[in-house]
C-alpha cells in the first residue's frame, strides 16, 4: 500500500475512533488519538515528500479505488502527488498537528472534548482530500466536506443562538459560492468531457474562449465563497464564534486558502481567460482595502485578526490576478504560519483573560504572558512586513509582481500593507503594553498558558520568522526555494513569472518603500496607542463606516434577506399551505382511496377470478387483433 493513501486515512481513523468511542475514552486519550493521527499523517507526508524528491520529482497518481462508473465516465478516488499538493499537504498536516496539540490545552475544560477532536480530525481528512484529489470531483468532495466541518465547528458551542446563526451564515454564504463552483464543473464537463486534472488542464487548446472565461469565472465564484472575498466575505468575521483553534486552523491557515489552491491548480485555464484574471485582481484589491479599513476600528481581538485574514487573502488574490501564482502560494504559506501563530496567541490571551476578547479591557499583558507576548510580537512583525521576517519577503514579492503589471493595483496593495502594519500594532500595543485595564478578578487570574499551548506558539513563531527563507528575492543570488521547486515540474513551472529585463533596481526601490511604509505606520500606531495611551472610543466620521463594516450586513439584509424572507412568508402562507400541501395531500388520499377501490376487484371469489382471466385474455387478444390488421 502506498504511503500516500495513509495520509487521508489516518485522520479518518482518528475521526472514527473519537467520534464513535470518544465518549468512553478519557480526555487525555482522546487528545492523544486526535493529535497522533495528524502527526502520523504528517510523517507520512514527509516520507511521500522525500520519495517524491528522490524519485526525480515525477508526478504520481495514487489510486485508492474506482469510485463512480457511469457510462463512459470513470472517476477514481485517486490522489495526485506533485509539488503543489505536497506543499499543501505539508501545510495542512504540519500546522494542523500544531493546532491539535494546542487544542489539547485550550479545550481542556470543554465537556464535548471528544466531539471537538472528532470534528477537527474530520476536517483534516476532507482538507487532505481537497488538496490531494487528482480530479475536480474529489476536490469538490473535500471542498464540501471542509465547508460542512467548518459549519459544525463554528457552531460548536451550539447552545448559544448567535453562534448558531454565525454557523448558518457561513454555510449559506459558502453555498452561494459552491453553486458557482458546481456550475463551473458542469460547464467544464460538457466542454472537456472530463473532470480529471490531466484531462482538463492538459487539453486547454482549441476551446471557445468565452466558455473558458465562463468556467473560470464560475470557479472563482466558488473561490470567493470559500476564501471570503467581496461580496461573500462577511461570514468569516462571524465565524470567529467558533473555538479559537478552529479559527486558526480553518479560518486562517487552511480552509480559506482552498479558493487560492483551486485557482493555482487550475491556472492553465485561468491563463486563457484574461477577463477573469482582471476580475480576480479587482475583487482582490477591493476586498483587501475594505477589510483592512474595517480591521482598523475593531476592538475584538479575534475580529481584528479575522478582517486581517480577509485582507491578506485579498492581497493574494491580487497576486493571482496578475498571474504571480508562485508568489501567491508563497504568501499563502507564510500567512498560514504567522496568522495561525497570531490566532493561537490570541487564544492564549483569551484563555488567560477567562474568555474576554475586547482589547480595550486588556493591556499590560507583557509580564503575565511572556511567551505569548514574544511570539505574538514576532507574528505582528511578520505580518506587518518588517524585514527580515517572513511576511516581508512574501509580501514584497507579490508587490513587485503587481507593480510590474499594474501600478494602480500596487498602490492599493501598498496602502493595504500600511494599514495592516497600523492595525496590527494597534492591537499589539493595546493588548500587551501599558497598564492592565480589566477587572480585578481577571488580573488575579492572569497566567501563562500550559506547555501544550506554548510549544505550538514557539514552533509557529520560528516558522513565521524564518519562513521567508523559502523564497529569497532573486538578486540575493540564492535560489528561490518555491519557484525552484515548482520549476522542477513541467505543468507547474509556469506558476512562476519572471520579470522582464532588469527589474532588480525597481524591486529594491519598491522594497525600500514598502519597508519604510510598514515601519512608519507601526511607529504611528506606537505613538498613538503606546505613548499617548489613547483608547479607541466611539467611532466618528469615516470610522463609523469602517466600524459598521460598510454596513454590508445591513445592506444584504435589506436587499436580499428581507425580500427573500417576505417571499418565503408569502410562499409559506399561500403556496405551501393553500396550494402545495393540499395538492400533495389530495394525491395521497386519492391514491389511498384508489387503492381501496381497486382492491375490491380481488373479491376472493374464484368464479370471478376466472371471469377476470377470460376478460383479460379477450382484452389482450382484441388489442393485438386491432394491431395486426392496422
Amino acid at each position: 500500500m502506498n504511503v500516500a493513501l495513509l495520509i487521508p486515512l489516518l485522520p479518518l481513523i482518528g475521526f472514527l475512533i473519537n467520534g464513535l468511542f470518544g465518549k468512553k475514552l478519557s480526555k487525555s486519550l482522546v487528545g492523544l488519538i486526535g493529535s497522533t493521527s495528524i502527526f502520523a499523517a504528517f510523517i507520512c507526508v514527509l516520507i511521500t515528500f522525500a520519495n517524491f524528491i528522490s524519485g526525480g520529482s515525477e508526478v504520481q497518481i495514487v489510486k485508492a479505488f474506482d469510485w463512480i462508473n457511469v457510462g463512459d465516465t470513470n472517476l477514481a478516488m485517486s490522489f495526485q502527488i506533485d509539488q503543489l499538493s505536497l506543499i499543501m499537504m505539508t501545510l495542512v498536516t504540519g500546522v494542523g498537528f500544531l493546532i491539535h496539540l494546542y487544542s489539547i490545552g485550550y479545550m481542556h475544560d470543554d465537556e464535548n472534548y471528544n466531539r471537538f477532536f472528532a470534528y477537527l480530525n474530520l476536517f483534516v481528512f476532507f482538507m487532505l482530500l481537497l488538496v490531494m484529489g487528482d480530479n475536480y470531483v474529489v476536490l469538490f468532495t473535500g471542498w464540501e466536506g471542509v465547508g460542512f466541518c467548518s459549519y459544525l465547528l463554528i457552531g460548536f458551542w451550539y447552545k448559544t443562538p448567535e453562534y448558531n446563526n454565525a454557523a448558518k451564515k457561513a454555510f449559506v454564504m459558502n453555498r452561494i459560492g459552491d453553486l458557482g463552483f458546481i456550475l463551473g464543473l458542469f460547464l467544464m464537463y460538457s466542454e472537456f468531457g472530463s473532470l480529471d486534472f490531466t484531462g482538463v488542464l492538459s487539453n486547454t487548446l482549441g476551446h471557445d474562449k468565452g466558455t473558458i472565461t465562463a468556467i473560470t469565472a464560475l470557479l472563482f465564484i466558488g473561490a470567493m465563497g470559500k476564501s471570503a472575498q467581496l461580496p461573500l466575505f462577511t461570514w468569516l468575521p462571524d465565524a470567529m464564534a467558533g473555538p479559537t483553534p478552529v479559527s486558526a486552523l480553518i479560518h486562517a491557515a487552511t480552509m480559506v486558502t482552498a479558493g487560492i489552491y483551486l485557482i493555482v491548480r487550475s491556472h492553465a485555464l485561468f491563463d486563457l481567460a484574461p477577463d477573469t484574471m482582471n476580475f480576480i485582481a479587482i475583487i482582490g484589491a477591493a476586498t483587501a482595502l475594505i477589510a483592512a479599513t474595517i480591521a482598523m476600528v475593531q476592538n475584538d481581538i479575534k475580529k481584528v485578526l479575522a478582517y486581517s485574514t480577509v485582507s491578506q487573502l485579498g492581497l493574494i488574490f491580487i497576486a493571482l490576478g496578475v498571474g504571480a501564482y508562485s508568489s501567491g502560494m508563497f504568501h499563502l504559506l507564510t500567512h498560514a504560519f504567522f496568522k495561525a501563530l497570531l490566532f493561537l496567541g490570541a487564544g492564549s490571551v483569551i484563555h488567560a483573560m477567562s474568555g474576554e476578547q475586547d482589547i480595550r479591557n486588556m493591556g499590560g499583558l507583557k509580564k503575565a504572558l511572556p511567551i505569548t507576548h514574544l511570539t505574538f510580537l514576532l507574528g505582528c512583525l511578520a505580518i506587518a512586513g518588517i524585514p527580515p521576517f517572513s511576511g516581508f519577503f512574501s509580501k514584497d514579492e507579490m508587490l513587485a509582481h503587481i507593480f510590474n503589471v499594474n501600478p494602480v493595483l500596487w498602490g492599493v496593495a501598498s496602502l493595504t500593507s500600511a494599514l495592516t502594519a497600523f492595525y496590527m500594532f494597534r492591537m499589539y500595543f493595546l493588548t500587551f503594553s501599558n497598564d492592565f485595564r480589566g477587572t480585578h478578578e481577571q488580573k488575579h487570574h492572569l497566567h501563562e498558558s500550559p506547555s501544550t499551548m506554548t510549544i505550538p506558539l514557539i514552533v509557529l513563531a520560528i516558522l513565521a520568522v524564518f519562513g521567508g527563507l523559502l523564497g529569497l528575492p532573486e538578486f540575493t543570488g540564492i535560489h528561490h526555494g518555491l519557484s525552484y521547486f515548482f520549476g522542477t515540474s513541467n505543468d507547474l513551472s509556469s506558476l512562476t513569472r519572471s520579470f522582464e529585463g532588469d527589474f532588480h533596481t525597481t524591486e529594491l526601490i519598491l522594497m525600500a518603500v514598502a519597508t519604510a511604509v510598514a515601519i512608519g505606520s507601526s511607529l504611528y500606531a506606537k505613538k498613538i496607542y503606546f505613548e499617548n495611551k489613547t483608547l479607541p472610543d466611539e467611532p466618528k466620521g469615516i470610522n463609523k463606516l469602517f466600524a459598521g463594516k460598510y454596513f454590508l450586513d445591513e445592506i444584504y439584509n435589506k436587499i436580499i434577506v428581507k425580500p427573500a424572507l417576505l417571499k418565503g412568508t408569502v410562499m409559506q402562507n399561500f403556496m405551501e399551505n393553500k396550494v402545495i400541501d393540499p395538492a400533495v395531500n389530495m394525491f395521497a388520499s386519492l391514491s389511498v382511496s384508489a387503492g381501496n377501490n381497486i382492491k375490491k376487484i380481488q373479491t376472493g371469489n374464484t368464479g370471478f377470478y376466472i371471469f377476470g382471466i377470460v376478460a383479460g385474455v379477450l382484452l389482450i387478444l382484441f388489442a393485438n387483433y386491432l394491431i395486426w390488421f392496422r
Partner: protein, 108 residues
Amino acid sequence: MDITTAVQQVPLNNYIVLSIMLFSIGVMGMLLRRNAIIAFMSIELMLNAVNLLMVAFSAFKGDSSGQVFVFFIMVVAAAEVAIGLAILAMVHRNSGSVDINHLNKLKW
C-alpha cells in the same frame, strides 16, 4: 389406410375449428358452472382440445413429436387431477362444500 392418412382425410381447418370450439366450451364451463368437479372436467376438456389439435398438426406435418407431446399432456393432466381431487377432498373436509364460489375467506 394407415392412421395418418385417415386423419388427413378431413381438412386441417376443420380440426382447428373443432379444437377452438372444444376449448371454448371448456372455458365456458369454467365460467358458468360452480361445481368444482365440473370445473375439473372443463379443464380436461380444454386439454383435450389441445391434444386433438396437436395430433392433427402432427399428422399434417408428418412430425411425430406432436404426438409425444400429447402423451406428456395426458400424463401431466392425470397428475394434476390426482392432486386436484386431493385438494378438493381437503377443502370439502374443511368447509363442507365443493362450490368454487363458496371459498372466499381470502380476499382484498
